[in-house]
């Protein structure tokens, strides 16, 4: 019971935080995604033709939604947890009888909430540019939920090690953005030469984007089962790492 109240308190605090600064957290993704739709969809997309059997605009919509979910889940936890470290208000939780898993679940839950809310906003914006189709709603919900959990955990681990605000932008800039752009958001893997097709299969974001696209369009470059195995494995590994770091007090206890 106490743990449930503690978890609810952390989640409430996290959701209140990103809603309080909605101009910084919710508006930019909507603007960015509108620009993607206008430039890649309407202006360039019309000249590209079909991709994976669909209009280019329809093809990129799931990837763009997923890109927003990934970025926002990650950055919410990275900035919120690092800010709590920096202002030392993380100590409010550390002195209280809050189990480590509740701290991890609270922050990750907050990141997932923002990631999925932004996903919904972007989905709504996309309705202005493309006719929507849904092939399998369960796959969509499961994929987006698990993917946001993966990147929220990633953001937490980044924040644990971060020593300055610069450190929480290094991974998004040098790792996440390249992996996302090369993760099949804008193209079908079938366009790639064999070597790069093989290399792309090492990119976990490929599996997330393709599983998500399958939910909308019913097509995927990779097996759906393999996608869920990859996502599930990542969650397990990242959760274990996050729990170990918080339990040892890395970056938060002297």
């Amino acid at each position: 019971m106490n743990n449930a109240i503690a978890l609810k308190s952390i989640l409430t605090k996290e959701v209140q935080r990103f809603l309080r600064i909605w101009v910084q957290t919710l508006v930019p993704p909507a603007i960015t995604i509108s620009l993607y739709f206008i430039i890649f969809g309407s202006l360039i997309g019309s000249r590209i033709g079909k991709m994976g059997g669909f209009d280019y605009m329809s093809f990129i919509v799931p990837g763009l939604i997923m890109m927003s979910v990934i970025t926002n889940s990650y950055s919410n936890v990275a900035s919120s947890f690092f800010s709590a470290k920096w202002q030392r208000n993380i100590e409010e939780m550390l002195v209280a009888p809050v189990p480590n898993w509740v701290i991890v679940a609270g922050y990750v839950g907050g990141g997932m909430a923002r990631g999925m809310l932004v996903g919904l906003i972007v989905t709504f914006v996309s309705l202005f540019f493309v006719d929507f189709q849904i092939h399998n709603i369960a796959v969509i919900i499961i994929t987006v939920t698990l993917t946001s959990a993966v990147f929220a955990l990633g953001g937490l681990i980044n924040a644990v090690f971060a020593g300055s605000f610069d450190d929480i932008s290094i991974i998004p800039t040098f790792v996440l953005t390249p992996l996302t752009y090369l993760g099949g958001v804008f193209y079908s893997l079938s366009l790639l030469p064999d070597f790069w097709y093989g290399v792309s299969q090492l990119n976990p974001i490929v599996y997330m984007v393709n599983a998500f696209r399958y939910g909308f369009l019913g097509v995927s470059d990779v097996s759906l089962t393999l996608s869920f195995v990859v996502i599930g494995t990542l969650i397990t590994v990242l959760f274990t790492i996050a729990m170990t770091l918080i339990s040892k007090g890395v970056g938060i206890r002297s």
């Binding site: 109240i5 308190s9 030392r88 100590e91 409010e92 009888p97 007090g249």
Partner: protein
């Protein structure tokens, strides 16, 4: 009487090798008002950090109401409320949210937490600011906010790490009065402070820590009884001549005030007799504050000298 806090053989060596705590033993009984004094870097905040699990200890045992922090950490933590030295709340959060969330971390339902937040914000004269973000508060208000926050789960032990640092005397006195009321309600209070007057006025028992070791641990009365000489300040009626006292150490500060050092065994009558002979009228008399300061400096200096001696003999 139940032991609120038991510390034995507490060691802390920081990364880099700094030996902050060198086997500290300390016991605080339930209901006590306890002072932990020491110069900067003596190990006070590290000790508090270990008790509240913000600092990982290197060795030793800490028990809170019998619960070992190595075995029953969450239970042990539930008894503690901490008012840290540095402001450690989200500066952009409103006061009411800071308090309600903090209560939630201890499993207090939101409805009950809001009631408590109102109670403590009113008691600490912050209720009008409840919806302001914390960064808008003055230094004294921020300190009071941290006291309110520490009380939200109604702890049995309240630990305050220099709670009145940087606050004006009026606020400091109202905080003292508030803490005394809490102590009367049965809350055990452990206080670190740089204001020795504060420790002398509030605390019944005291430990002095220096260079990671406890150099004195006793009750306040016994400690003050160690003073061989007491200094009194006499306020004199206006007179033109300088005062002369035989066989008494004194300092005439100006024509209106005189400081005299009286050995414990000696009566004050001798002073008054000599002043009467010179026609000097004494209007009032007070014990010079910071009696503790003399002892504190003496103890710390004594320990440092001993260490220097040990090193020299090696």
């Amino acid at each position: 009487m139940q032991k609120a806090l038991e510390i034995s053989g507490l060691e802390k060596i920081y990364q880099g090798g700094f030996h902050a705590l060198k086997g500290i033993d300390l016991t605080v009984n339930e209901g006590d008002f306890f002072a932990l004094l020491g110069p900067n870097g003596a190990g006070k905040s590290t000790t508090i950090g270990v008790i509240t699990s913000l600092v990982n200890k290197t060795g030793g045992k800490v028990k809170i109401f019998g619960y070992d922090i190595d075995q029953d950490l969450e239970k042990a933590k539930s008894f503690l409320g901490l008012v840290p030295q540095e402001f450690n709340f989200n500066q952009f959060e409103s006061l009411i949210n800071i308090l309600v969330n903090q209560a939630g971390y201890y499993g207090v339902e939101r409805k009950e937490a809001k009631k408590r937040a109102e109670k403590y914000l009113k008691q600490l004269e912050l209720w009008d600011k409840r919806d302001n973000s914390a960064r808008m508060l003055s230094g004294g208000m921020k300190r009071r906010l941290m006291i309110a926050r520490a009380l939200m789960h109604e702890p049995k032990i309240l630990i305050l790490d220099e709670p009145t640092a940087g606050v004006d005397i009026e606020v400091r006195r109202s905080m003292w009065s508030f803490l005394q009321d809490l102590n009367k309600q049965g809350i055990t209070i452990i206080l670190t402070t740089h204001y020795l007057e504060e420790a002398e006025m509030l605390c019944r028992n005291i430990a002095i820590i220096n260079q990671g070791e406890i150099v004195e641990n006793t009750d306040m009365k016994s400690l003050l009884a160690q003073l061989d000489i007491e200094t009194f300040v006499l306020d004199l009626a206006k007179h033109k001549q300088s005062v002369v006292l035989d066989n008494i150490a004194y300092r005439q500060l100006d024509h209106h005030s005189l400081e005299v050092d009286i050995p414990k065994a000696q009566s004050l009558n001798k002073v008054f007799a000599q002043l009467s002979e010179q026609g000097v009228e004494v209007l009032s008399m007070r014990n010079k504050t910071n009696r503790l300061e003399a002892l504190f400096v003496g103890l710390i200096t004594h320990q440092s000298n001993e260490k220097a001696g040990d090193l020299a003999s090696e």
